[in-house]
């Protein structure tokens, strides 16, 4: 089958070879963990515990109090040391619960996953909501909201995003190989929940082993409740940002999501691999979202790994588990190198949306500072933009504070994928300029 794709985009080096073949290993629990009440898009959870409380692993410690929000669960058993502001990966101080683990971990054990039956759609939504599941690809949007589309929209297609188009990251790749059955059950549960007939698992063609593994899984015995579902594995061209929601829907379904609208408008629902697995685990074994797979990698990391990490573990602990740094790191990123956050402080916790930790060395970072120029209008950003915008033009307007013009040029449609920044020979920080314009446009609208 010919690999499908979208128009635009870039071909950065994959940098995945260091961890692609490394099985997921359990990350040891550190001596202290920090659980932020806000790990998702929407209102932060309300803290349910106080200093000195003993908490069990998987116990709910934060309650979601509005529709767009998500509860938080203790990832380890132990004693609450403090409830207060700690540094978040964004650089801000936010409310977190710090727990001193007692390493007892009296979790709910022995629940056998029975995939032969499916609960009702409402039960699935309830379980997903209670388990605190959010989009694990990075955006951290509460999944229960996505499973609750407006009543006038019918979702006919559910897409599992197995692209993992960010360089360096291999967490989803490993999950597709190691928890294939859980992934497929997760997809079926989502389809059952929203009443969709068609399921797609989109995987970039640089992961042929994952494509084969998932295909083989689909050929196994299908449970009674899922026999009418049509699920296909779709190889996609390896191109960034193939995993962008709108780009993925275009490539797989040939439908274009209108600007500033949600995928449900075209009858599509996209979930990340990790999220689908978490959904299955929440429904089948009542496991809330308390851990996730994080790829710890980059040229500065001595022993890059795919780690199954308890949420709240600090980045510095992950780096220590990976044998520390082999050379000085010039930039430590939470997430992938195209869209991730630069960490100023390594003592910030892994959260639900943390897909990777990437430590870059100076040679990769300084390229930006060297050879900086004014825009030479080469148009490479225009050709790369997967939203068909003119990043150079929006950037120029933003620099001159002509925010009205920037809005007309489509600043608000930018998905901040970073393709323009990657490709710019003048090394102009276009995403930064466009973000500034977006902020200014929003505040203009508010006032």
């Amino acid at each position: 089958m010919k690999a499908k794709t979208f128009r635009g985009g870039i071909h950065p080096p994959h940098y995945k070879e260091k961890t692609a073949d490394k099985p997921i290993i359990l990350c040891p629990i550190p001596s202290k963990i920090y659980l932020p009440m806000g790990q998702h898009i929407g209102q932060p959870a309300r803290c349910l515990v106080k200093e000195g409380d003993r908490v069990k692993a998987r116990q709910k410690i934060g309650e979601a109090e509005s529709f767009i929000s998500s509860p938080v669960h203790a990832s380890v058993s132990g004693v609450v040391e403090r409830v207060g502001p700690y540094p978040h990966f964004t650089g801000r101080m936010t409310e977190m619960v710090s727990i001193l683990p007692d390493y007892v971990q009296e979790e709910l054990q022995g629940c056998r996953a029975d995939m032969s039956v499916a609960p009702s759609p409402d039960e699935i939504r309830q379980e997903v909501r209670e388990a605190g599941i959010v989009g694990m690809g990075g955006a951290a949007f509460p999944t229960s909201v996505k499973l609750n589309p407006p009543p006038d929209m019918t979702i006919d297609s559910v897409i599992i995003n197995g692209c993992e188009c960010e360089p360096f990251l291999t967490a989803d790749h490993r999950l597709m190989l190691e928890q294939t059955d859980v992934l497929v059950d997760g997809l079926r549960l989502i389809m059952h929940c929203v009443g969709a007939r068609n399921g797609y698992i989109g995987i970039e063609d640089n992961k042929p082993d994952a494509i084969l593994k998932v295909e083989a899984e689909l050929l196994k015995e299908v449970p009674e409740w899922a026999v009418t579902m049509q699920i296909r594995v779709c190889p996609l061209k390896t191109k960034y940002p193939q995993g962008g929601e709108k780009q993925l829907i275009h490539a797989l379904l040939g439908r274009d999501v209108p600007v500033r609208r949600l995928p449900s408008v075209v009858g599509a629902l996209v979930q990340n691999v990790g999220t689908a697995i978490a959904i299955s685990e929440a429904v089948r074994i009542k496991k809330p979202l308390v851990d996730r797979v994080v790829t710890v990698t980059g040229p500065a990391i001595r022993d890059p790994q795919n780690l199954r990490v308890k949420l709240g573990t600090t980045v510095s602990w992950l780096i220590k588990v990976c044998h520390g740094l082999s050379e000085p790191s010039a930039k430590d990123i939470m997430g992938g190198p195209m869209t991730g956050f630069v960490l100023e402080n390594l003592d910030v916790p892994v959260v639900k949306g943390t897909s990777g930790i990437v430590s870059l060395t100076g040679d990769l970072v300084e390229a930006r500072l060297r050879h900086r120029l004014t825009c030479i209008k080469c148009g490479k950003c225009v050709d790369a933009c997967p939203m068909f915008l003119m990043p150079s033009l929006i950037g120029r307007f933003s620099e001159k504070r002509r925010y009205q013009d920037a809005e007309e040029a489509g600043a608000m449609d930018c998905i901040e994928c970073g393709s323009c920044v990657y490709t710019c020979p003048s090394r102009i920080p276009l995403v930064q300029l466009i973000r500034e314009a977006k902020g200014a446009i929003l505040s203009m609208k508010r006032s």
Partner: protein, 343 residues
């Protein structure tokens, strides 16, 4: 903690955090590489003159950039190699017998006026090389020095290492070697000029194949379509140019010449069309970036070229067409914004 192992000075920044290895200097290097086949062809057809004039233009362009930027308190910028590209492109547009001082003046004007006075690389409105070329062409007393096109392979009779130039004498322009030896009967009109003079029969004698190899009278770098196309293929391969501008220029020229009942292959291969379409009109700074805009720009240049060739000057049609469209590039972009995905 591992903090000690991190650098003192971290680089805080917004994404993306990795960059394509192709920065401006790498891109300009690629342009220089793409011009090498044409430089080789020029050396074969016009002898050492090609190297001689190229070196003059490049070194004056570089020196001008250093001095002007120092005077204007701008940072040193030769690393981006755009001055070298401008110098070489200017040399390519010059007749092989151009006097050294006129070539140097062209290079000076290209960098000092067209590039730096407009604000430096990225801010220039006109293609610097073409601006320099037309500047030295519009002064009537110098113009005559730029109208003597030596015949290809002339050096076979005089030795590869002889360099010829033209000088203003009382009786007119004289072609002579640098050493002072007079040479008569070497120069003549280019194929396009012959056509304009109405000598249709003479044009019939010009073979398409000679136009393609470059075995014709013309400016240094413009004659060999083959060498230029090899270079252009490299630029395509490296992703620096796309088909839209060159394709629409060449397509328009071909269609218009067919409509006028003229030989389209002749019009495409003659004069500076291939050089202009692939290397001048595609100049990043002075051409539109939107897909639709690039096609509009190319078609307009193609029409302009054909109008000049039919009703205007004997030569310089391509240069004039591109220079006239340059300032419109930004406007074209503003009115051809692509429709956003899903918009």
């Amino acid at each position: 903690m591992e903090k000690g192992e991190r650098r003192e000075q971290l680089v805080p920044s917004t994404p993306a955090h990795i960059y394509s290895p192709v920065d401006a200097a790498v891109a300009m290097n690629d342009v220089l590489i793409s011009l090498l086949p044409a430089l080789l062809a020029a050396t074969i057809f016009f002898g050492l003159n090609a190297i001689y004039l190229s070196m003059i233009c490049i070194s004056v362009a570089m020196m001008t950039e250093v001095v002007i930027r120092r005077l204007l308190n701008r940072p040193f910028s030769l690393w981006d190699r755009s001055a070298v590209v401008t110098g070489l492109l200017l040399a390519f547009t010059l007749p092989p017998t151009t006097p050294w001082w006129l070539a140097a003046l062209g290079a000076f004007v290209a960098i000092a006026v067209a590039k730096e006075l407009f604000g430096g690389i990225g801010r220039n409105i006109f293609n610097p090389a073409l601006f320099g070329r037309i500047f030295i062409f519009v002064v009537p007393s110098w113009k005559v020095l730029l109208e003597n096109y030596v015949r290809p392979m002339w050096w076979r009779d005089f030795g590869f290492f002889s360099i010829i130039t033209s000088r203003l004498k009382e009786e007119g322009v004289t072609i002579m070697t640098l050493a002072g030896q007079y040479m008569d009967g070497l120069t003549g009109a280019t194929p396009l000029a012959i056509r304009r003079m109405g000598a249709a029969a003479a044009v019939q004698n010009i073979r398409h194949l000679d136009l393609f190899w470059g075995n014709i009278r013309g400016s240094l770098g413009e004659t060999s379509a083959l060498a230029l196309l090899i270079g252009a293929a490299y630029l395509f391969y490296r992703g620096h140019i796309n088909w839209r501008i060159p394709g629409s220029i060449i397509g328009t020229v071909a269609v218009v010449s067919l409509l006028w009942g003229q030989d389209p292959i002749f019009h495409v291969l003659a004069g500076g069309l291939i050089l202009g379409a692939f290397f001048m009109a595609t100049d990043w700074v002075t051409s539109p970036v939107s897909a639709k805009g690039q096609i509009i720009y190319g078609v307009a240049i193609g029409l302009f070229i054909m109008l000049v060739r039919r009703f205007g000057l004997k030569t310089e049609g391509v240069a004039l067409a591109i220079l006239h469209m340059n300032p419109l590039a930004l406007f074209i972009d503003r009115y051809t914004l692509p429709r956003p995905f899903g918009g």
